[in-house]
């Protein structure tokens, strides 16, 4: 796909053209193309400064280190497309992770634990959906409360880090599928990309997905068109919660442990990835592929800073903040011009 072409140092233009052929390119896709350009730019900068930057290994590590964030970003995209926001995903990810670690430590079988941990996310998402729809609590507060609840449950399970030595998890964590001589794909990466694919399908090939976009475009209009708005609004939070649950499993796999303090602030990373990926916070416009690219952008920035060595990690935050600002101001400028 376009990704291998990037790493193979093919000019950006060819990548864009091939994308154009695959996806009907109209003005709405511009933000995603913009993100792609930014990603290519950052890669170019990295490749210029450091040896070995443009290697399969670096790119593979992007996916290995960030598969949980990719899944979170997919769920967050659904929520933001309807004009809402979900602040609980970091805490739910931690809950799912530490719950799975704790159960596995007590010798529960993996094929029971994994679905259970994901289910926890789904249930919390349902709770949020009910709070927002039935009790008319604003998404910000409802997901905030869910965040506290999830974090609280984490602490109850355990305050310490719980190592995982379950064979299934270890297998998931250590397996590598080599592609070519420097590329590597992990089960987590496959799962993450699978979630992206499912998200893409749902958003673009089901009525539910089109309703999500319609709500973001105009909730009033969607109601008048007879669309099942209420049900859809609750379901997007269920989806976000489920994604957080899956993200928790992937994180457990990645760190081979569960820890109640993980995921602090991760929801912000997810939101930043979604915004940088071209999705409008006001809703109605955006693509999961863009969010995937957004995560890759964040990951690449982190990689550069690691490569730099002398730069300390806090520069990551500053650069991400600045990038966020640029994207937001651009979105605003385009919106203002259109009016």
């Amino acid at each position: 796909m376009a990704i291998d072409q990037l790493a193979g140092r093919t000019p950006v233009k060819a990548a864009v053209t091939s994308l154009r052929r695959r996806v009907r390119l109209d003005r709405r896709h511009l933000p995603v193309v913009g993100t792609l350009v930014v990603l290519a730019l950052i890669f170019a900068i990295g490749g210029n400064r450091y040896e070995n930057f443009l290697s399969g290994r670096v790119f593979s590590n992007l996916f290995i280190n960030n598969s949980h964030l990719i899944v979170l970003a997919v769920g967050m995209t659904f929520v933001i497309l309807t004009g809402g926001i979900d602040l609980s995903v970091g805490a739910v990810l931690a809950l799912s992770s530490i719950l799975s670690a704790s159960l596995l430590q007590n010798n529960w079988p993996a094929f029971v634990v994994i679905p259970l941990a994901i289910l926890v996310g789904t249930l919390l998402g349902l709770l949020v959906g009910v709070m927002i729809h039935v009790f008319e609590i604003q998404p910000f507060i409802a997901t905030l409360a869910a965040m506290f609840l999830a974090r609280g449950l984490c602490y109850v399970i355990s305050l310490n880090s719980i190592p995982i030595d379950n064979p299934t998890i270890v297998w998931l964590s250590s397996t590598r599928y080599p592609i070519g001589d420097s590329w590597v794909v992990t089960p987590s990466g496959i799962i993450a990309l699978g979630v992206v694919a499912v998200g893409f399908y749902v958003l673009h090939y089901t009525r539910f997905g089109r309703t999500v976009y319609a709500i973001g475009g105009g909730e009033q209009s969607a109601i008048l068109m007879g669309l099942p708005v209420a049900r859809t609004k609750v379901l997007v939070y269920v989806i976000s919660g489920t994604c957080a649950g899956i993200g928790g499993i992937l994180f457990s796999v990645f760190s081979r442990s569960g820890y109640s303090l993980t995921g602090v602030g991760m929801e912000l990373d997810a939101i930043a990835a979604v915004v940088i990926g071209g999705t409008l916070l006001t809703g109605g416009s955006g693509f999961v592929l863009g969010s995937l690219l957004g995560v890759l952008v964040l990951g690449t920035i982190q990689t550069i800073i690691t490569f730099e060595g002398t730069l300390s990690s806090w520069w990551t935050k500053i650069v991400i903040g600045a990038l966020l600002l640029v994207f937001v101001v651009l979105q605003r400028a385009i919106a203002a011009r259109r009016r």
Binding site: I85, M131, V134, F135, E136, I137, Q138, F140, I141, A142, L144, A145, M147, F148, L149, R151, G152, L153, Y155, V156, L159, Q220, I223, L224, V264, L268, I271, A272, V275, L281, T282, S312, W314, W315, T316, K317, I318, V319, I320, G321, A322, L324, L325, V328, V329, R332, A336
Partner: protein, 346 residues
């Protein structure tokens, strides 16, 4: 002039929060009969209630700004970052100053910290009122980048300082009361006076309740919005000084962590709606006390510290649910309105 009407509104919305606060205090007193005791030692007041007051001071400061911002239909997620930056700047200055124990140096340190906090608040105001960016995303930018900036200032170290005058901000006593309480109280008094003595309070509410009608009435919403974000920045700066004074160090990572979320929750519990409009400073105060008392209650009731966040979460959810329209209408036995989702021309 407005007291009577304001009380009516506040009383209605504050009923559950106040009841919750009193319930907590009662539960504590049952458990520890000395809970309500205040003793005097070395000319200073001590006691559990004093601790609650002192520990809620930074939160109250942040909350004051947050209340005003929320009243204009906005939100400020960056206050935690500003807290960290303010503390980092003051401590870094003091750490490299030749005479950290002189009051003059301390005042300069505080001055530059507050000046930067003001600039950051003005920056937020600019993004929201001039560029018209949604408040949640505008302040998210500083929230993300801010901690990085704080770490930059401290070079990633937890900067320890030794300065007696600075120490009094967080843990010292003036006239028998904790200095922190006095500072928070003073700022509260200033905000209360300015919003009610000038027309600022009324205009803020007007903008939050009905921005369209306010515009047609000639209200300058741009400058008002700018002011509230600037104020939120400065107050967060003062809170930052307090927090770093408490630990005599600048911890860029943890200073003020989640304080914005606590502040928003306290404001909502206190009866100010996230949708903007009428705000209640006293309600915000009650909200802060509830959150602080909750933390103390957990210890006193012997609930293991691991469960504190869960306990807190449940109380918060309960209060939010109780304030929900559907619950309020069930309680008030109000005649349900006809569903009208669309405006058709007459």
């Amino acid at each position: 002039m407005r007291n009577l009407n304001a009380m009516g509104l506040v009383r209605h919305r504050l009923f559950w929060p106040l009841a919750a606060l009193i319930a907590l205090l009662v539960a504590n007193t049952i458990r520890t009969t000395s809970f309500l005791n205040i003793r005097v030692q070395d000319g200073h007041l001590y006691g559990a209630l004093i601790d609650i007051l002192r520990n809620s001071s930074p939160l109250i400061l942040v909350e004051l700004g947050m209340t005003l911002v929320i009243a204009t239909r906005g939100i400020d997620l960056s206050v935690g970052a500003v807290v960290a930056i303010s503390g980092a700047l003051a401590c870094s200055f003091l750490a490299s100053a030749p005479n950290p124990n002189s009051i003059g140096t301390v005042l300069v340190a505080c001055g530059i910290a507050l000046a930067l906090s003001l600039v950051l608040g003005v920056w937020n105001g600019f993004l929201v009122s001039v560029l018209g960016i949604q408040p949640i995303i505008a302040t998210l930018v500083l929230m993300t980048a801010g901690r990085g900036i704080a770490m930059l200032i401290t070079s990633g170290q937890i900067t320890m300082i030794h300065s007696t005058p600075f120490k009094t901000i967080g843990s010292g006593f003036w006239f028998g009361l904790p200095a922190a309480v006095l500072i928070a109280g003073a700022v509260f008094a200033v905000v209360a006076t300015v919003t009610r003595r000038t027309a600022l309070g009324m205009l803020i509410e007007s903008v939050g309740i009905n921005p369209q009608a306010s515009r047609l009435a000639g209200v300058q919403s741009r400058s008002i919005i700018w002011i509230v974000y600037a104020a939120a920045g400065v107050f967060a700066g003062v809170a930052g000084l307090m927090i770093s004074s408490n630990i005599m160090a600048a911890d860029a990572n943890n200073a003020g962590l989640f304080i914005e979320l606590d502040a928003i929750l306290a404001v909502v519990i206190g009866g100010t709606s996230l949708a903007g409009g009428k705000f209640s400073l006293s309600g915000t105060l009650v909200g802060a006390f509830i959150i602080q008392t909750l933390t103390l209650t957990v210890t006193i009731l012997g609930i293991p510290p691991a469960v504190t966040p869960l306990f807190k979460a449940i109380v918060v959810i309960a209060v939010c649910l109780l304030q929900a329209p559907i619950v309020r209408s069930r309680l008030a036995v109000r005649r349900p309105a006809r569903p009208v989702p669309v405006e058709v021309a007459a």
